[in-house]
Amino acid sequence: MNQRLKPVLLAIEDDHDFRKGMEIVLERLGFRFVGVDRFEDFYECIEKFKPDLYLVDLQLGAQSGFDVIHELRHRRGLKEPILVVSGVRGTEAVAHAIELGASDFLLKPLDRTFLSAKLSRFIETDLILEHKPKFHELPRGSAGGKVEFDVKISEIDELGIRFRTSSLVPKGTVMKLRSAVLAEAGMPDGEALVAVVSSDLDPTAKVYTTYAEFDGVDVEILQRVRSWLAT
């Protein structure tokens, strides 16, 4: 295969054996693997190879993988997927990496099946496609529940709540909103059932301002909120 047709994967990893192991697996999966252990080399390779995907270890001595993610996303404005490969467990490290712009977070140790399944979410080679895990359709109605995401409240009034979110919550959507400020306002457990009335997109900021009215909230509780608003 022509080397230039292979997608280039640049990895920064200071564990030599692990790097070597990744190289063998990834070359077999159809990538051109470039692995380095020093920041200087890493940044040089970005210019030289124009990689299609980055693998970043978190614990790298002087500089951390977080700095690398920040450099790639925010200073250089790179759009390619950045996958963190780390032995650091815990949701805080994962959340911080994602917040900085990482595309995914893979916990060590890796194996070929796991790595190719993860890589297939971001890039495709013929060999990756061969191993791409298929989605299994679940019986209808067998896996219902709730999905949670975070929003930023900008204003509360007597009828409802205005908040900012990057996702579109269409008019009529009924949902539960939980926040410390609602607890302060007198809502039991800081929770309120609300129904979306409007969602307006700010195209520049790519953020929706959504207004949702209190739905089925007890009059006594609304009175508490009103008293809180009046103070």
């Binding site: 959340a95 709730k146 949670e148 930023k152 409240i153 009034d157 009059v219 009046a230």
Partner: protein
């Protein structure tokens, strides 16, 4: 629909029959009514449960309705609550004094139910709602909506929900299935393959299992009969 539904109205009058009459009229139209016999009791109650409107009699034995209006001028909370004066005093001087002290309207006793309701509705219509800006640091909130996981593999799943999720949005799933498999403990991230309209007000999204290790991936694979 009752036009005063959801509105709290405080009636201050020393005459029990007048309080009862006002209560009946306002409640029929959907209002929640509190009533007290003195200005001091009214002020105390309003501080505790801020009403949308105060109806106050002018002639009370201790503090009068005029005293209340004087007090109201100097209090930011009460200034924001429209106040309607209720009185048997028909003289021009009393009416003018009440209005000049800031009363929003004047209802003469004896009054007709329709007139009172008209005046109350008018006063409430002119009232703006209380609102409060929420600044950085305390503005964080979590939203939960109904979802169905429709497809699953060892590193991602597809969901259907009313929300059109933006790529990169961090989400958490709470379903019996994701709980059983241990996926609900993971932070999840909406993939770029998202925002597809399915049907009946549902949008599809693919969600990556972020921070997953190979053991959990293998366990999920095994759950639907997949091999190593």
């Amino acid at each position: 629909m009752a036009s005063l539904a959801g509105k709290n109205i405080l009636v201050i009058d020393d005459a029990a029959d007048m309080r009862l009459l006002a209560r009946k009229i306002l409640e029929v139209d959907g209002a929640t009514v509190s009533d007290v016999a003195s200005i001091d009791a009214g002020i105390a109650l309003a501080r505790e449960k801020v009403p949308h409107l105060i109806v106050v009699d002018l002639e009370l034995p201790e503090k009068t309705g005029f005293d209340f209006l004087e007090f109201r001028r100097g209090d930011a909370l009460f200034q924001a609550i429209p106040s309607l004066v209720l009185s048997g005093r028909k003289d021009r001087e009393s009416v003018q004094r009440a209005i000049s002290l800031g009363a929003d309207d004047y209802v003469l006793k004896p009054f007709r139910a329709t007139l009172m309701l008209q005046k109350v509705r008018k006063a409430l219509k002119l009232t703006s709602f209380y609102r409060k800006s929420v600044g950085p640091g305390i503005d964080g909130a979590t939203v939960a909506v109904a979802v169905e996981v429709t497809h699953l593999n060892e590193v991602a799943c597809r969901i259907a929900s009313p929300v059109k999720f933006a790529p990169g949005e961090s989400v958490r799933l709470a379903t019996e299935l994701t709980s059983r498999l241990g996926i609900d403990r993971l932070p999840l991230c909406v993939s770029p393959v998202s925002g597809v309209y399915l049907n009946a007000g549902q949008y599809g999204a693919e969600v990556d299992f972020v921070g997953i290790d190979r053991e959990l991936a293998a366990r999920i694979r095994a759950s639907f009969g997949g091999g190593k």
